[in-house]
Each structure stands twice: as structure tokens, then as C-alpha cells.
Symmetry: C2
Subunit: 284 residues, 2 copies
């Protein structure tokens, strides 16, 4: 089944955070643009995962041949939004060889000694690679803002700084796919309950997650500001409802496919004389 | 079907490079220890890949809970031996989140300014991670030896140094799974021919590969010396015939499963009061 028949509008169009977007109007259990059900979505994930994999191989091949372009997927969301599952079930379709994954938790002592973009710059994807950020520099206008970790004049200056930083990245050939993942308060509770009910999930549970739930309104406000101030032409945000994991996964798969297709990649031409090499090889 | 029924002896036992192993006696088209055919192997790869994935999640969970142990898969072999395919088809089964992949080609200018283990040490897996080295520090006793890139007294001292380095790694909690992948001269020719015949494979072709074929005997001698001198109790080599890709992939899957099972991992216990957290969550 062609994906066109199930997406009534492309994910990249439907999910893009346009000016005036209101986060508190978002139904986090919805499946914007998609007309299918969960079974359709799961089948589509396999089909489109294979397409994503083929496109990633093209990107990698071009990178090996000197193309400096890359893709950077930024996953930003509250605990339990499904960032880890996104890596496993979407990025898991592509060759691990071509993926650069980085997770940004509480900064280390060394990281704290540097500018907040220092650790980010070290982890940027090289040419031909698909970079994946599990959390990102946006932590520095989210948790940092909510917890007053730096004064307001410091964090409020970061939006422009981030826009500028991303502009330079884009100009240098990186397509940034920024995905804001939103789970509802109720669904988050269910997911945390599961972690407390299953011994194979205890390791994922962090008492701090419950503390953060108490700050939910402040976080929503910080996310709204982030979307308002940093959804730019060169690096727009995509807002993905995440109460249905299957939906969020096909949505991000489509966003990545869209970004890769726009690079208009083809197999790199031979940078050697094919017939001469065939003759050399035959004699070897 | 249980894997026991197709492996008449475990891969970790059959493939281990024991003292006196003679590389020139190795049939590179053979399937040591395995009684099944290609279809069996391909089915088994899926089954056992799922087992590998579960074990890797346990490793990762323990790493997140403070366990400093890790696994390091070292893939060493001539061009076309199938190192890239091994990453894709074996490591591709596990969560990309828990994999640290590093490829070691010709050293960069910066790397050349440092000791040959410098770039290796920077890429070692952290606790809980599965590290994958596509080529490794063994390049420094293989290509470097064959091409006389440093004097003999320099490279010949490296075997002991590598053994010592690996001993320290193992003592610190890393299980090193060293896989020497051997393809035959004829099969290599076929694989290179394919790269010259298919425009989607040109990017994988490097004229230098044909040059290296002319040095085949010297490489075999260097590999023999590597196996003789660095297959230690703490970090033995496993010799994997690679003319049949499906075999090499199930073999390495089993080697990784074996290494992970020996860690005797269980889900980490909760490091919080479960009932108290359930109460907090309910009220949140």
C-alpha cells in the first residue's frame, strides 16, 4: 500500500509549527494527517523504514565520496515521550554504521565549565551521517528556564543564539529535523506506572520524573516559547503528538524521508576508470 | 528451532584461535561447527539476533545503573571480508542507543601525531555499551607491517604492548571479542568485480584494494603473526571464514551472545522505594 493513501496531508506539512501555533490546543492522542489505524501504522513503519534505510545508504555513500551534507534529527520531549523508542524503532531501520547518536542529560562537570553549545558542537554529524540528538541544546531553554538554573537575561538570550547557530549549521550543509514530542499528563502517568510495576523497567524510572510532573505548566510554557522563538524557516519545529507511539514513529520516519529526498541524492559516480580497474582486477 | 540443534559445537569453542593454528589450512568457504545450510542460517540470524538484542538491553540497563562492564567487538579483516555487512546485519539487531561504533582507516594528520593507541583509547565503549571497532589497533601490526610504515623493531614491540593494553581493558571490565574475518582470494575478486559492475557499488570500490591483493602473501603472514602473538587467555581471537556471509554473521552473533551470557546479567534492582514512588506518582 502506498503511503500516499494513508497520509491525507504529508507529515512535514501537517506537523510543522507555524507562527501562532498554540500548544495547549494540541490533542496529544491525535494522529494528524494520518487516516489509518494502529495496524496500518505498524505495517507502514516497516515499509517506510526500508525506504528510509535506502535513502540513508545514499547519504552515506555520498558522504564517503566527499559530500559534506548531513542530517541531524533533534528529539526533544518530556520524560516518557518516547525518545528512546524512536531511536530503536525508527533509527533502528538504518545501518548503524551511518548513525551518530548522542544523548544530552544533566551536564557533566567538564561540560559545565564550557558554553552550553560546546558539547553540542562536539557531537554534530559529519558529512554523510545521520546524527540523532536525544535531548539537545534546547535543554538550555527548557529545564534550565523552568528551574531558574541561570538568570532570565541569560536564558532569554539563547533563543537568538540558537537560531544563529542553527543557521550556520544549515548553511554548512546540515538539514536539521527538529521534533518536539508531546505526551499528555495522563499518558505520562500510565507510562511511569508501568515502570514501577515491571522489574525489567525499574532501571528506566527516576523519582525526579515525578517531581518534574509538578512543574508541568511551567514546562508547557517553556515549550511554547521554544516553538514561538525557534521554529525558523531554516530549521522549523515539527510538533508530534506522542500518546500513540505507533503514530509518532511513522511521523518521524516520514519527516526523515522528506529531509533526505530533498537532498536529491544519487549514487556517486566512479572516481576511477572503470574499464582500467576491471583489467587490473582480472590480472590480480 | 533451538540453535543447539544446528551448532554441533559452540562457535566460541570451534572458532577460537588456539596455539598452533595455521591460517593457510583454513578453508574460507567452510562453516565450522554449523550443520545447517544457508536458509537455516538466515532463519537463525533473525532468531538469535532477537536474543542478542535482549541481552544488549540488559547490558545497557546495568550500565545505566552503574555497572562499568562493556563489550568490545573488534572486526579485523581484508577488504571485502564483510565488516560493514556485519555491522548492518548483526549489530543492526540491537538498539542503536547502546552501540558505540568506530571505524579506523588511514590515520588522520592529528592521529599521526599521537601514539597509535591514542585514537583507540578515545573510542572505547563506556560502561553498559557495546563497542564495535571496524578495523582497530591491529592495523598497526598489519598494514603497517606489510608496508614497512615503521621499522621492524617498532612494530614487533607492539604485540606485547597490545596484549598489555587489552589486559588492562579486560581487568577494568571490558569483554573483548576479537574477530578475524578471512575471505579467500577468489571470493575477494568476485566481490570487487561486483563493485565495478554496479553503479550503486562504485562508491565502495577503491583502486588501492587491487594493489593490496598483490601483497596477499605478506598480509597472510602478518595475520598469522597477529594470531600467534595476540590470541591470549584474556582476549582470544576468533577466526571466522567469510566466503559465506550468512555463516560469518551467525557465527559473530553467537560469539556476542556468549560474551554477554558470561556477564550473567539480571535486571538492576530498584534504587528507590517502589511503594513510596507509586504513592507519589498517584498523587501527581
Amino acid at each position: 500500500m502506498a503511503q500516499d493513501s494513508l497520509w491525507e496531508t504529508p507529515a512535514a506539512k501537517t506537523l510543522r509549527a507555524e507562527p501562532g501555533f498554540e500548544l495547549d490546543q494540541l490533542d496529544r492522542n491525535s494522529t494528524p494527517g494520518f487516516t489509518g489505524n494502529k495496524a496500518d501504522g505498524e505495517r507502514l513503519l516497516e515499509e517506510r523504514g526500508a525506504v528510509l534505510s535506502d535513502l540513508q545508504e545514499l547519504l552515506y555513500a555520498n558522504g564517503r565520496s566527499g559530500d559534506s551534507r548531513s542530517i541531524l534529527l533533534v528529539l526533544q520531549g518530556m520524560d516518557t515521550a518516547g525518545k528512546g523508542g524512536m531511536v530503536r524503532h525508527v533509527i533502528g531501520h538504518v545501518d548503524p554504521l551511518g548513525v551518530q547518536h548522542a544523548a544530552f542529560g544533566v551536564p557533566t562537570e567538564e561540560e559545565k565549565q564550557h558554553h552550553y553549545l560546546w558539547r553540542i558542537k562536539k557531537a554534530l554529524p559529519r558529512g554523510g551521517y545521520l546524527g540523532v540528538f536525544d535531548r539537545s541544546h534546547y535543554e538550555d531553554v527548557l529545564v534550565v528556564r523552568v528551574h531558574d538554573l541561570v538568570p532570565e537575561d541569560v536564558w532569554s538570550a539563547r533563543y537568538d543564539e540558537i537560531n544563529q547557530f542553527e543557521k550556520e549549521l544549515v548553511d554548512a550543509g546540515t538539514t536539521i529535523v527538529k521534533v518536539a514530542m508531546f505526551v499528555s499528563l495522563d499518558e505520562q502517568k500510565k507510562r511511569l506506572e508501568e515502570r514501577l510495576d515491571r522489574p525489567d523497567k525499574y532501571w528506566k524510572y527516576n523519582p525526579g520524573d515525578v517531581t518534574e510532573r509538578g512543574l508541568w505548566p511551567a514546562y508547557q510554557q517553556a515549550y511554547q516559547a521554544m516553538l514561538d522563538k525557534t521554529s525558523t524557516e531554516h530549521a522549523p519545529w515539527y510538533v508530534v503528538p506522542c500518546d500513540r507511539k505507533w503514530y509518532s514513529r511513522i511521523a518521524v520516519t516520514e519527516l526523515l524521508i522528506d529531509a533526505l529526498e530533498k537532498l536529491d541524492l544519487d549514487w556517486p559516480p566512479a572516481n576511477f576508470d572503470i574499464e582500467a580497474e576491471k583489467a587490473r582486477l582480472a590480472q590480480s
